[in-house]
Symmetry: C2
DNA sequence: TAAAATAATACAGACCGTCGGTCTGTATCT
DNA sequence: AGATACAGACCGACGGTCTGTATTATTTTA
């Protein structure tokens, strides 16, 4: 076959397969031949749609970002919620998504997949913080449910901590460790007038660690 | 020449050269041939002392860790200082060292050198936090200069924020951004009874950004 | 306006250069 | 004589390129 009528499907095939492999084996250890075998496409096909292996990675990360940006934007723009409540909803949504394997911000590896992680971190600081968290913080400051002298910085730190430090996906953790981190995190945010982690999410995180 | 009488010098040559190259060009983009050319050694020599390219990286990171572990241990064991003061000294020392190019925890790249970064982060969480920061926190709690309900978690977060988020080495920053982050950080730590960044370090960080 | 010519697209797969790593050889020291 | 400290030819794998080809889209021409 040549000249497929729906090349977009091919692109999606590549993206789907690659993201699965990157998450399973890590970016470095995933070879182009792996992707070729799994997609049943040829090298020519893949390099027709992507300029390089790294371009595939970037596309994968971008697509992940986009897929939950929608969810996050929905929370951000939901009316009738105080800033602090929105923020809690945001964290809930974000965590839930990542537990479902739809992994949004952070991913299973850190040592195993540093390149992936670095890209994610970049998108956290450059997009998620200013576009989703900061607006909510400002709302919360306006409606009095949040008090923060440095909202830009708080937005970054909140995301960094929740996605990179708190997230149980990143390192093997005992239930006690997870609970202690959550308690610390809640105490930390209380300084700014809100608490983000309720028992539901904490239990979900603990449960997630078992698997 | 064969059978050098001081093979340890050769190892150091390799380590010195490799760390320079890794920091300059990034780990991935540094080829073995680069190291061979710069050291004027042969492939055989390098693979005689190291099992793989990654082994060199790990050795480089370890040596960086060791070189300032001594400095940090000295601060930790210095008598006659309250916990909070020791912690401030620790941060000072740590920052100073990294400014001098002796780079201790974190390094210039994040996107450019993710593997390096991942290893550093690992050593932060596994070694620096429990071995250096935590003991000081406990001291501070005992002598009343620090109050923290979750010292283990606080130790991790302090290091993560100072080395990964605050450190101007990691991303290009304007003086205003640096100052805002420092102000936020100081306000954050005030919750626990101490402030870590004085005007001296902040100015040094701003100055560092210019270069 | 329909057929023919032309161009562009969507692949297939042989091929290539580079890089990490191995292996054999050799000189020097213990 | 054996171990150590190299030297450097060699190898396989991998990312990337290049040429070829079938199919579709577009333009030209009768």
């Amino acid at each position: 076959m040549a000249r497929n009528k729906h090349p977009e499907q091919t692109v999606q095939r590549i993206l789907d397969t690659a993201s699965k492999l990157f998450l399973q084996k890590g970016y470095d250890k995933t070879t182009l031949q792996d992707i070729i075998d799994a997609t049943k496409l040829s090298k020519g096909a893949i390099y027709h749609h992507f300029a390089s292996k790294e371009a595939i990675l970037i596309a994968v990360v971008d697509r992940m970002g986009d897929s939950n940006s929608a969810a996050l934007a929905e929370v951000r723009d939901r009316p009738g919620l105080a800033g602090a409540e929105k923020l809690r909803e945001l964290v809930r949504t974000s965590m839930r998504l990542s537990f479902q394997g739809k992994i949004l911000h952070m991913l299973p590896f850190l040592i195993e997949n540093p390149k992936f992680m670095a890209l994610q971190m970049q998108s956290i600081l450059n997009e998620a913080a200013p576009d989703y968290v900061l607006p909510i913080l400002r709302e919360g400051i306006a409606d009095g449910s949040i008090r923060a002298d440095y909202p830009e910085q708080l937005a970054e730190v909140l995301l960094l901590l929740s996605d990179l430090w708190l997230h149980p996906i990143l390192r093997p953790s005992t239930p006690e460790q997870v609970r202690a981190r959550c308690a610390f995190f809640n105490q930390f945010t209380k300084q700014y007038g809100f608490e983000l982690l309720d028992d539901d999410i904490i239990d979900a995180m603990v449960e997630f660690c078992r698997t």
